[in-house]
Symmetry: D2
Subunit: 147 residues, 4 copies
């Protein structure tokens, strides 16, 4: 299985700043980036053969339990950018993701971030003891195995 | 049971424009009003003794099936306003709501709107044949009965 | 200049339902469609050679003054769809747009909508007497001229 | 000047979970908390006599440059909660804020977070050398002075 990753294993998700993403200052409102980061994550999983909606239908969810963002430069309306993400490490049922939002040419860095997800049993609302096989399989493909 | 309604039966929900509601133009983004309209609806039902989350737990949802909005004036950051809503008519399981968004003093009109909800069986995803008793009771209080 | 339009002059904008678009019911929250409709509009103008951010920089904005939506079916998480839009008529500085949101195969209709924009002078906050030349040019391409 | 602060200097902003805040899982979508955190911040400043819109009109903005969140428990539809915030430290033109989101009774903790703002000159898009007097005055009231 092949995935469209860069040499450093970044998955790239292209976005465009539309009016709804901006605030009174003319730049992207700081919460709008969270939307793009989630979309990039879901599309990365899809590129690996895992439909997130299917994972949910199987009873597993991956809520965000930690999030940290540094805003380096502001994106303004009409600009396009690339949300780069990669899974850096899996500890038990915790999945750690890194993010960079860059200009399409790669010469400007807008944002860096880290997100931690945890696998949860949808019915019981409890943290799973281990990742579901369907998710383990995907992680083994990108080499983001337990350390 | 008494509800905090104006003489013309409007329920009033007070809002304030924060940065996240605005767009690049410095005014409220046109989709942000939908958030306030929904919140006013849910709080109106709560004031009548109906917790929407409880209605959902009982298996009934009230999705929006029609929506029309006229934007008269723009609200800008920091302004406060009043979202006024009332149930104008119930036809079977369709609930029609009217909206006005005004200045707190009532001398400026920002928006008028109409929203139609329909009662749906949550499990089957189908339109209900009749409103659940808990909802009928609430509607009889405001005199918005079938015509 | 050629644009990627269907025989009936629809511009097509492809979207995917992500977690942030959904609500507790598992379907797209009714306000999320407004985001996609605006994005489709801006991308249609871009396909015609008009960058909306540039229009704004030139001092003209196109706020929404009327909006009406009918929700036919609900989209759920993970589904993809096509937002189709076309400019149906221009009356002075009022631009009328039609919308359909369909399944990618075109066999299911999720939403139909109408949106009216009006050209506004950004500095004065007043409705323009006539459309800016840059916008007139674009409209003449799609044959959506004054009637 | 008095502000409605708790003994530990927390400002409290009350919120209610409405349908638009939730996602398919039935809980608050992780990005929705950012909205409430910003609103609490703006209302805190207002309680201290500083209207954020006025600060912006004076040429100063306070964009978020760092943000970190830990999600402890999930809020679900219909629940109410208290967003508690305080300014913990000011270093030059950087303002550090702490957050806790709790149940109204204070017995459940949903979220803890830290946010850093920086004072920016709106016209030039550059970081200010020092805080505007209007903002310094407010900070001296809460004792969050430079360390």
């Amino acid at each position: 299985m092949s995935t469209p990753l860069t040499p450093e294993n970044w998955f790239e998700y292209h976005i465009r700043v539309h009016p709804n993403h901006t605030d009174y200052a003319g730049y992207v409102w700081h919460g709008s980036y969270i939307v793009w980061m989630e979309e990039a994550r879901v599309e990365y999983l899809r590129s690996l053969g895992l439909d997130y909606a299917r994972l949910v239908a199987l009873g597993c969810e991956l809520p965000v339990v930690e999030l940290s963002i540094r805003y380096h430069r502001a994106l303004s309306m009409g600009m396009s950018a690339v949300v780069r993400t990669r899974m850096v490490q899996t500890k038990g049922v915790r999945l750690n993701w890194d993010y960079q939002i860059q200009s399409p040419e790669g010469d400007r860095l807008y944002l860096t971030a880290k997100v931690t997800l945890v696998a949860v049993d949808r019915a019981q609302g409890k943290i799973l003891r281990q990742l579901p096989p369907i998710l383990q399989e995907v992680l083994s493909v990108v080499g983001s195995v337990e350390c």
